[in-house]
């Protein structure tokens, strides 16, 4: 934690950056919230602990052209690679303070869980994939545990009609607040398809059949781009298990194309390339 503060102070005083985005304490006194530090004397407010679940990389999209320091966990760092790959941010405009992380806990307003978040339990990325300054000791290279898609498998095990009922029930609750979109680093469209009036893809009526289009395409637009920070699910006021949709695609993208989003900056997202010889069970 002190390391982060010192580095932030150094960056700000040397004017290497004009703002450091990190974590501060929330008003409930127990959880954390994003913190924008502009003044060196402010750095003492910076914290880092098990409650720092936010993926701050989203904020880089508002700071194009401005030098910014940012605190990232390993999962967040993958989002940075995605944004670099898509030329949304410039590497030389971002100073990345990577934090070694062995998982964050489930938090809600004024509640800090004991358990690691589910995603952290199967996560084997404990060191950021990209950083300028590393906080903490990189752990021993443990053999990467196989990705655990238990939650996804649970849904896959259901019958079609069960799945349909399951999602309709959830989509029915959706109030289209778009918090899931607003929090997602991968969602930076100038105009989201759901806001588009012409062509009108999604009607104004907040109803399951409209919401279904929203959620299906939201997930699909993130196919091969979602690095699994699960912010969408965390912020959903209606407890819609959005991560299931993303995880499903992460799983299939990995199985079909052997691709994992954001592991490096260069690799082209799977829908931006192809293999002539692959069949993918189509046209056979």
């Amino acid at each position: 934690m002190q390391q982060i503060r010192d580095k932030a102070k150094e960056l700000l005083t040397s004017q290497a950056v004009d703002c450091v985005i990190g974590y501060g304490r929330a008003t409930d006194g127990v959880t954390s919230r994003p913190l924008f530090v502009y003044e060196p004397e402010q750095v003492e407010e910076l914290i880092f602990d098990k409650t720092c679940t936010h993926n701050l990389t989203k904020y880089l999209l508002n700071r194009r052209g401005k030098k910014t320091g940012i605190v990232v966990k390993p999962c967040d760092s993958r989002a940075i690679n995605v944004l670099l790959n898509e030329e949304e941010i410039k590497r030389d405009e971002v100073y990345i303070i990577g934090v070694v992380c062995d998982g964050v806990v489930e938090t809600r307003w004024n509640q800090v869980g004991e358990e690691k978040q589910a995603r952290c339990q199967y996560c084997h990325q404990h060191t950021p994939v990209v950083y300028d300054f590393l906080v903490g000791e990189p752990p021993e290279e443990s053999p990467p545990a196989p990705e655990d898609y238990a939650a996804v498998a649970e849904i896959e095990a259901k019958s079609l009609s069960e799945r349909e009922a399951f999602w309709t029930e959830h989509f029915d609750r959706c109030c289209r607040c778009y918090a899931c979109r607003q929090v997602c680093p991968g969602c930076y469209c100038t105009e989201c398809f759901v806001d588009r009036l012409d062509p009108l893809w999604v009607g104004i009526r907040i109803a399951p059949e409209e919401n279904r289009i929203w959620h299906t395409i939201r997930a699909f637009h993130l196919a091969g781009r979602c690095a699994g920070c699960n912010e969408c699910e965390r912020v959903c006021p209606m407890n819609i298990p959005l991560s299931l949709l993303n995880r499903k695609l992460v799983k299939e993208v990995d199985e079909l194309f052997g691709f994992q989003a954001g592991l490096n900056e260069e690799e082209m997202q799977p829908l931006g390339t192809f293999k002539k010889e692959e069949k993918l069970g189509i046209g056979e």
């Binding site: 849904i155 896959e156 079609l160 009609s161 069960e162 799945r163 349909e164 009922a165 399951f166 999602w167 309709t168 398809f193 893809w201 109803a207 399951p208 059949e209 409209e210 279904r212 289009i213 959620h215 299906t216 395409i217 997930a219 699909f220 196919a223 299931l244 949709l245 499903k248 695609l249 299939e252 993208v253 079909l256 194309f257 799977p270 829908l271 192809f274 293999k275 002539k276 692959e278 993918l280 069970g281 189509i282 046209g283």
Partner: protein, 141 residues
Amino acid sequence: MAVEDFQPRMVGFLCNWCSYAGADMAGTSRMSYPPNIRIIRVPCSGRVDPLLIVKAFQQGADGVLVAGCHPGDCHYVEGNYYARRRLALFRLLLEFIGIDPRRLCVEWVSAVEGKRFSQVVTSFTEELVRLGPRSEVQVGA
């Protein structure tokens, strides 16, 4: 509704250079097939945006057919390769949210495969009849 008198509604996105021509060929050689399909002409199977597919399903389509040139024969060299990836993945997502993947049929039909086209449409129609109508929740009010 009894299965036998259920008439599925299907939308077919056919690439102009192979499959649409294949459908023309089916016509020229009078190879009849069920009338349920409504063909939409697109330049390339790679032009088909998943949004158009979900939209068709939301409107009430019982099935969507996307047909393009055989791999390697794409008029635009690579279009169908991208389509293949996109649609293979998208079909899995549809299945996951409870839309029967068999309702999204992706086929390669060349300009000379009139017979094949009529077979594809016929078997797809029969498949959809077997699957029966889609539930109201999916189609909406």
